[in-house]
């Protein structure tokens, strides 16, 4: 009678996982919006959000400064952090599964370096296109990331027509180094933009508004839906490409779809927030350790966990030495690494 119980429990634990992560996500959004130099009560935040979504609901009872802070400053920032974290995590999970490499992350293929080059070029030359103005940077960054991924895939295909994952990783690493050198070159040559460039490279979601959210959301939706559709193929491919082929996966086509979907997510995330490290590497591992490697659950759970994690990391980064802000990438590593180490040790100890 033990088996049915375990079975039930494991199914339950997946359901529990979704419930817990959704609750944490909601709580993270509220806390992130609430805390700051001026703290806003949860209830007011909920009221403000409802009034903005359903026109006609009155919020006359709430201070207009609160509305301004919540709606124009904090909420977009929190949501942006959430979407960036979610994008990087789901992309990381997919890349790790596809490349069968636990060390892979969204930046392995050089997409982030491409996006960074786009951004740094914008800052370095002080570019500003007409009509879009301050959005020149995310736009150029996203374009650069897409160019990079296609060039990387083109080269990988030229080197090895079957596009083995080893070839893809190698090509990505080569391009990353090359593009990284370009960035270093610009940093070396720059003067007063140095701080701006470094700040962008370390990653941040501060001083962003709804427009940035609007940039990332379509890419996030397209990318994550594409990946979720390929969850089964990712499962199959983590047994090796030949094995996936034996099972009936059209490996080459599906692999290309997954690579492009993951790159769209990464490129968009980097374009709006810079290269925030650690999230895409660790969140998928964290979810895998707790709920197993099955991509059907791993992908959505990573999305939820990654979003919440980055919202909370951002909260810490802007409150810990307030009124100054720390780069969010520093916080993700500072919080994430020890938590991850503990979980890893625990799971290894249980196994042995």
């Amino acid at each position: 009678m033990e088996k049915p119980f375990i079975q039930k429990f494991s199914v339950k634990s997946k359901a529990v996982a979704y419930i817990i992560l959704i609750l944490i996500g909601g709580l993270a959004v509220l806390t992130g919006t609430s805390i700051g130099t001026v703290s806003v009560p949860f209830l007011d935040i909920i009221k403000i959000i409802i009034s903005k979504i359903i026109p006609g609901v009155s919020i006359d009872s709430i201070d207009s400064m609160y509305v301004n802070i919540v709606w124009n400053i904090r909420l977009p920032r929190v949501l942006l952090a959430g979407f960036v974290g979610a994008s990087l995590s789901i992309a990381g999970a997919a890349f790790q599964g596809l490349l069968r490499n636990p060390l892979a992350d969204p930046y392995t293929l050089g997409v982030s370096s491409g996006a960074s080059v786009g951004a740094v070029v914008t800052i370095f030359f002080g570019l500003s296109f007409p009509f879009i103005g301050s959005f020149t940077l995310p736009l150029l960054s996203i374009v650069a990331s897409f160019i990079t991924i296609f060039v990387v895939l083109y080269f990988a295909k030229r080197i090895d027509r079957a596009m083995r994952v080893e070839t893809i990783i190698l090509t990505g690493v080569i391009f990353s180094s090359f593009l990284g050198a370009l960035i270093s070159l610009m940093i070396a040559l720059t003067g007063e933009e140095l701080r701006q460039i470094i700040g962008w490279l370390l990653g941040s979601v501060s001083m962003r508004g709804w427009d940035h959210v609007k940039i990332i959301v379509p890419f996030f939706l397209i990318g994550s839906i594409l990946l979720l559709v390929h969850a089964k193929e990712l499962n199959a491919m983590s047994f090796g490409e030949d094995h996936a082929k034996h099972i009936g996966v059209d490996v080459e086509r599906k692999k290309m779809n997954i690579l492009i979907a993951g790159s769209i997510l990464t490129g968009a995330a980097v374009a709006v927030s810079g290269t925030i490290g650690f999230v895409g590497l660790v969140i998928p591992h964290f979810v895998r350790l707790l709920w197993g490697p099955n991509h059907i659950h791993l992908l959505p759970l990573s999305t939820l966990a990654g979003g919440s994690f980055l919202i909370l990391a951002d909260l810490v980064s802007r409150t810990i030495i307030s009124p100054s802000e720390l780069p969010i990438g520093v916080i993700t590593a500072l919080i994430g690494a020890p938590i991850f180490a503990v979980i890893l040790m625990k799971s290894r100890m249980e196994r042995s």
Binding site: K3, I6, Q7, S10, G97, R100, N101, P102, L228, V229, K232, N235, A236, S238, F239, G240, D242, H243, K245, H246, I247, G248, V249, D250, V251, R288, G292, P293, N294, R351
Partner: protein, 489 residues
């Protein structure tokens, strides 16, 4: 079912396979054998559509494998690879479920009830259902292999391709897996192509075998025709012996290890014999190839201890074999390497002789009594008893005997024994006709299997003549001793 036509190809410009052609019928268990690097795995990869081939064509069910799409192909052909990588630890159930991938439709494919039923079914068949919720990296190599077999079967294929399926399995699971595969080929018309390293297993289970050498077909035929000593020795560059399976009409191969310390082999002669009132023993330094009808060590075998034990004429035990083993053990002999015989004849009446011939030699030891003399040609049954009246003949040959020679040696020795009995006009006491032996006679032919090759031991050959002469002389002497004692007492 599967038609491979003049396949040529490989990994680079230099082809690994050259013009391989064969056909496999529906429901056939087809084995591919060959030394390392002969192209077995390459061939399997080409059939499983992983590796392209430069020339030729492979068709399955009359359609070129190039025209199938990935899912169609997976519904038709499943593969059990030799090794599988697993980066992440999926549960057994998740792993097996993946086998249904090719049967699922729609974007967010979920498992239907019939999928679930098949998954449960194949997990039961492969015996992995008990690990259902464990992760595959917690399993042993053999268990994992069975999980992947279950996954392949979940594809519900018509063709199953296996690359050394018994690689990680212990003896019991090897047999079980192959038994199951064969029953599926017969009952479900599953077509199986499998690579084998173990020629004996391949020979036992396959309907036909393809032997590859350097990417070319050496032969493709039934196991009895493929597994021939000379061919296998040539292809594998190893010294082997062919031997029939004791239960199944299939050939088996035995490796012959390089012998070291040849000088350890000593000649068997009378100096090795030890006599007491209780037993005559001969202890050889090396094991001898023996064929005997002793109480222990009977049949063909390898033994280095030889005991002819005196038992009282009233000796009567229900299980004399067991009693003999106990006796041997209590005297420091291991029954597994001892040819043991019994006699109620006084052991001092033994006769023995060492005969030296050109290139080989023989030692003959005989104890004889005729209390139970029987004329077997009458065809009347007698109650065998261990009363004095047993002729035990030991023949030791310093030479290498073929199996044929062993049988001929027994014939020749028996003829000589009968002649010796006739010499003394020994008769069957019940019929008063000339006796052919006693009811409990035993014989041992033992050879060192070193030195001169002696293929025949018929009465016209030098070996046969030595055996005839030796057995006759010793039996005659032993009978003489027996009669002298009988007369005296």
């Amino acid at each position: 079912m599967i038609d491979v036509k003049k396949i040529t190809g490989g990994y680079s410009s230099k082809p690994i396979l050259e013009s391989i052609s064969f056909e496999v019928d529906k429901g056939e268990l087809f084995g591919v054998i060959g030394p390392n690097g002969s192209g077995k795995s390459t061939l399997l990869k080409m059939i499983s559509h992983i590796l392209p081939f430069q020339k030729g064509e492979i068709t399955i069910k009359g359609k070129s494998i190039r025209t199938y799409n990935a899912k169609e192909f997976a519904r038709l052909v499943a593969v059990l690879p030799q090794t599988t990588t697993q980066t992440f630890s999926y549960t057994v159930r998740e792993t097996v479920s993946l086998g249904r991938y090719a049967h699922q439709k729609g974007l967010f494919q979920s498992l239907t009830e019939s999928d679930e039923a098949i998954i449960q079914d194949v997990m039961k068949q492969t015996g992995v259902d008990i690990y259902e919720n464990e992760t595959i990296d917690e399993l042993s190599g053999g268990e994992r292999q069975r999980v992947f077999l279950a996954q392949a079967l979940a594809q519900d294929p018509e063709v199953l391709l296996l690359d050394e399926p018994t690689n990680h399995l212990d003896l019991a699971y090897q047999k079980e897996l192959l038994d199951v595969l064969r029953s599926w080929t017969k009952e479900k018309d599953l077509t199986v192509i499998s690579i084998f390293h173990d020629l004996n297993l391949a020979g036992l289970y396959c309907d036909r075998l393809l032997l590859l050498q350097d990417g070319k077909t050496e032969i493709c035929d039934s196991p009895n025709k493929v597994i021939k000593k000379e061919r296998i020795e040539e292809v594998y560059h190893a010294s082997i012996e062919e031997y029939p399976h004791p239960k199944v009409a299939k050939p088996q191969m035995m490796l012959v290890p390089k012998t070291v310390n040849k000088d350890e082999k000593t000649q068997i002669d009378e100096t090795l014999l030890r006599f007491t009132n209780e037993k005559i023993t001969l202890e050889a330094k090396q094991s001898l190839r023996t064929m005997s009808s002793g109480v222990t060590g009977s049949g063909f075998g390898w033994n280095h201890l030889f005991v002819n034990r005196y038992v009282d004429k009233n000796y009567n035990v229900d299980d004399h074999k067991q009693e003999m083993e106990a006796y041997l053990k209590s005297h420091g002999f291991h029954p597994d390497d001892t040819v043991g015989m019994m006699t109620a004849v006084n052991l001092s009446q033994v006769a023995y002789q060492f005969i030296h011939e050109e290139g080989f030699s023989g030692l003959f030891v005989v104890t004889a009594g005729v209390g139970n003399a029987v004329d077997s040609t009458l065809g009347v049954s007698r109650v065998p008893g261990y009363i004095p009246g047993t002729i035990n003949i030991w023949v030791f040959i310093n030479g290498e005997l073929s199996e044929e020679a062993y049988i001929q040696a027994v014939m020749t020795a028996t003829e000589a024994k009968v002649k010796a009995l006739q010499n003394f006009k020994v008769t069957d006491p019940e019929s008063n006709t000339l006796a052919t032996g006693t009811s409990t006679d035993s014989i041992l032919i033992a050879a060192t299997q070193a030195g001169a090759k002696l293929t025949y031991a018929g009465s016209a050959t030098p070996l046969g003549q030595m055996i005839g002469k030796g057995v006759f002389k010793c039996t005659k002497q032993a009978l003489m001793n027996y009669f002298n004692k009988e007369v005296k007492s």
